[in-house]
């Protein structure tokens, strides 16, 4: 099919592993927070339903963590195996956060082990709750550290390049580069958002299947309130990310928006097609919106694609990735806000079927937004692996066997993914909530109003 090119295969294999890892990584960052919230509610309201919620979520979480850990180990090693030149350069400048990330892993892994096996070991429930806090911190810190590495790739700084050799290195400057604030906050909050929606989708699905227990309603309400908060945060921070791009990576923003001519009062383009002559067809144009996204006012001049060297432009199809992400972001915000609203007005039944289906759809969609966002961000950096410093081709391995490895890893992830789903389903189907509530002697109170 293709002529063998180690660079191409390295890119494909990296994409494959990261796209698979990020599913579990996102869950791994977000779910601990949701578990903590549920356990806290259980203590505060003295409601065993919430405690059980935390317990069941934690049980499912272990399985996804396992896959997250092993795929993370894979990507960690693959970075050195597939991008040895890049890692040699990166090790000199950005090795610090990567190293610190392993401490975050340690911290999280240790407390996760303790947390899981000490549910009934302490007299005070609060003591057990305290154990979840280091897990939340560890998980979020690992996302923080690894995302600084990715920010560095987008906005490298903290060194001087003399004849291809990095000197004058300042690890902290490299870590806290211009991309760091928006990137980190956007990544972390979208992890929370996605996790809340996935848990919400599961609860909604149970109710749709005719499960009337109030446990599921409480779960849905809790996750939707959290999701609404995170969705608003995501949109706000996403807006800041756009401003970051405008200042530091204008070519990425222009490519995402098919913005060719440098101008002020630039419109935002949604969907559409690009003709051979680079004309935009069938797109929805929102006047001034791009200028506002870039600089908060219609007068902002946005640099167009024509003003960049043509061989340094990323592929233009990332436009669709950007649109997909933003569209899903709006959808998630709308669904969660609407749910809370009708539940609050007390006039309508918030648990009606269309509403529930909309929430169910939000689960997979939020994960899709994560994937789309990353593909947009990473492909949008092309052809650079270190923006303006090193190209992807310079960073790659020269090994002759990357293609075989690609096929082997496709098979591996297919098997892991499938087994993971089977195991999770079996785990919860063989032990439904009702069952467990009965065993714990908690009443079947289906009528109490939840709030």
């Amino acid at each position: 099919m293709f002529e063998y090119d180690p660079v191409l295969y390295s890119r494909l294999l990296t994409t494959l592993t990261l796209a698979f890892h990020v599913i579990f990584a996102t869950i791994g960052v977000g779910i601990p927070l949701m578990i903590a919230i549920a356990e806290w509610m259980g203590i505060k309201r003295n409601d065993p339903h919430y405690t059980l919620m935390a317990r069941r979520w934690a049980r499912g979480f272990v399985v996804t963590v396992a896959v997250g850990v092993v795929t993370g180990t894979a990507i960690g090693l693959q970075l050195s195996l597939l991008w040895p030149n890049f890692m040699r350069a990166a090790g000199h400048t950005i090795g610090l956060p990567m190293f610190m990330e392993t401490f975050a892993f340690f911290f999280e892994a240790i407390f996760l082990g303790i947390y899981l096996y000490t549910w009934d070991r302490f007299k005070s429930k609060l003591k057990h709750f305290l154990l979840v806090i280091p897990i939340v911190i560890g998980a979020t810190a690992s996302a923080f550290f690894i995302t600084t590495v990715n920010s560095f790739m987008n906005a490298p700084q903290g060194f001087t390049l003399v004849d291809g050799i990095l000197t004058d290195v300042s690890p902290l400057a490299a870590m806290f580069n211009p991309a760091t604030p928006t990137k980190i906050s956007h990544v972390i909050i979208t992890c929370y958002l996605t996790s809340a929606f996935i848990l919400g989708a599961i609860a909604a699905f149970h109710i749709l299947k005719g499960n009337k227990h109030v446990y599921h309603k409480k779960a849905l309400h809790l996750t939707m309130v959290a999701a609404a908060v995170f969705a608003v945060g995501t949109a706000v921070i996403g807006d800041f990310s756009g401003k970051y791009l405008h200042e530091h990576q204008p070519e990425k923003l222009a490519a995402a928006e098919w913005h060719f001519e440098t101008e002020s009062e630039a419109p935002l383009i949604l969907g559409g097609f690009l003709t051979e002559e680079n004309e935009v067809k069938y797109a929805l144009q929102i006047p001034y919106a791009l200028s506002i996204l870039a600089g908060n006012s219609p007068d902002t001049v946005v640099i167009g694609l024509n003003d960049f060297p043509q061989d340094e432009l990323p592929p233009l199809w990332i436009h669709y990735m950007f649109d997909l992400m933003v569209f899903i972001g709006m959808y998630l915000a709308a669904v969660s806000a609407f749910f809370i609203f009708i539940n609050w007005t007390n006039k309508w039944n918030a648990f009606n079927r269309p509403m529930l289906w909309a929430v169910v759809a939000g689960g997979p969609l939020s994960m899709l937004a994560i994937e789309a966002g990353w593909i947009f961000a990473e492909v949008g950096r092309q052809p650079w692996i270190l923006n303006q410093v090193m190209t992807v081709a310079e960073g790659a391995t020269t090994s002759p066997h990357v293609d075989i490895m690609l096929y082997v890893f496709i098979a591996l992830y297919a098997v892991l993914g499938a087994t993971c789903i089977i195991v999770l389903r079996r785990m919860f189907q063989s032990n439904p909530v009702e069952h467990e509530l009965e065993k714990l002697g908690i009443s079947h109170d289906t009528h109490r109003k939840i709030n």
Binding site: T73, P84, M87, R121
Partner: protein, 337 residues
């Protein structure tokens, strides 16, 4: 001490940590599978589960710490080893992936499955075999460097007695370390049946492990004479190793002081591992790469060391808490909690 030496000492210490905790884990997987095959699983299953369940993820982080840390301190290793190890490294990734996930699937997924426990047992032996080839390669003679193009010489690697010797050594060591720890754990749990069986395993693998060590020592003579000479210069370190082994095996045989015996096994491997490391010094990859030419810049080195010390303040109390709850809490170990 120079930054280089601090860096490699930190990394080597964590690799030693991985050697011990991972060996316990890998060996436990194998024993668990083997005893299932011989219908003795019910005897040791509980012991193994009680120890492994809370700690398996921590074990993995030791490895991650090592390979991320080495790229931080010695970025050039990414270049040399990264290019050479694409295939063996990927094989190791796959084995680790299969092992970690299937362990979780089998343990938390509620249902017993023969396939899961087979995968779990088999990978326990294959992972040490594949990881140990990295140490083999570091001795030199298996990597070629032509026009700046690094490649691994598979024929040399697969036909070398030294490399196979290291593989055997790593496997029997895993089994010995694991069995001697689990013997201790069973004795703390006051589980007589498990203790008897595990003690038998420990004694079975004790002499093979020391024998393999001695054989590899002499095979190294042909592979890398310089390294062999350096090892002879510090023969007393290996003497300590041998003596610790002798006392440990004696104690296990006499059915007493299993805890002391395990500490002695740890000393046995500590002295051998550091003796090996010190005599390998200063090469990271003989003869191409030493710790001096592969080292990161000063400011990064300092930052990494500060981060490391700060990290230890976090890590040591947490590890202590973990051990206190699951290793030294007699009620937990005995299954009363």
């Amino acid at each position: 001490m120079s930054y280089e030496v601090v860096g490699i000492t930190v990394l080597w210490t964590f690799l030693y940590g991985y050697l011990i905790v991972a060996s316990i884990d890998f060996g436990a997987g194998f024993f668990s599978y083997y005893s299932k095959r011989t219908n003795k699983n019910h005897i040791i299953h509980n012991i193994i589960q009680r120890y492994l369940s809370p700690v398996w993820e921590v074990t993995n982080v030791f490895l991650v710490f090592f390979f991320i840390g080495i790229v931080g301190f010695f970025p050039d290793t990414a270049y040399y080893y990264g290019t050479a190890l694409l295939i063996p490294g990927s094989v190791a990734i796959i084995l680790i992936a299969v092992r970690g996930s299937y362990y979780a699937f089998a343990t938390y997924g509620a249902k017993e499955s023969r396939l899961y426990s087979f995968l779990y047992g088999a990978t326990g032996l294959l992972i040490p075999a594949s990881l140990s080839t990295v140490l083999t390669i570091s001795e030199g003679g298996y990597v070629s460097l032509e026009d700046g193009y690094v490649s691994l010489l598979y024929r040399e690697l697969f036909t070398s007695t030294y490399s196979w010797g290291v593989v055997v050594l790593s496997i029997v060591s895993v089994l010995f370390i694991s069995a001697s720890f689990l013997t201790y754990y069973a004795s703390r749990a006051k589980d007589e049946n498990a203790l008897q069986l595990l003690r038998k395993y420990a004694l079975t693998w004790s002499f093979p492990s020391i024998l393999a060590g001695i054989i590899v020592f002499f095979l190294l003579r042909q592979q890398n004479y310089e390294h062999y000479q350096n090892m002879l210069d510090i023969w007393w370190v290996f003497g300590i190793s041998l003596a610790s082994f002798g006392v440990a095996a004696y104690l296990i045989w006499k059915k007493r002081n299993y805890g002391t015996a395990f500490v002695l096994v740890m000393i046995q491997y500590f002295s051998a591992f550091f003796g090996y490391g010190v005599s390998h010094f200063p090469y990271l990859l003989y003869p191409y790469l030493t710790i001096y030419d592969g080292f990161t810049n000063e400011s990064m080195a300092l930052a990494l060391i500060i981060a490391f010390i700060a990290g230890l303040f976090l890590l040591i109390p947490s590890l202590f808490l973990l051990m206190k709850l699951f290793l030294f809490d007699a009620d937990y170990v005995e299954g009363k909690k």
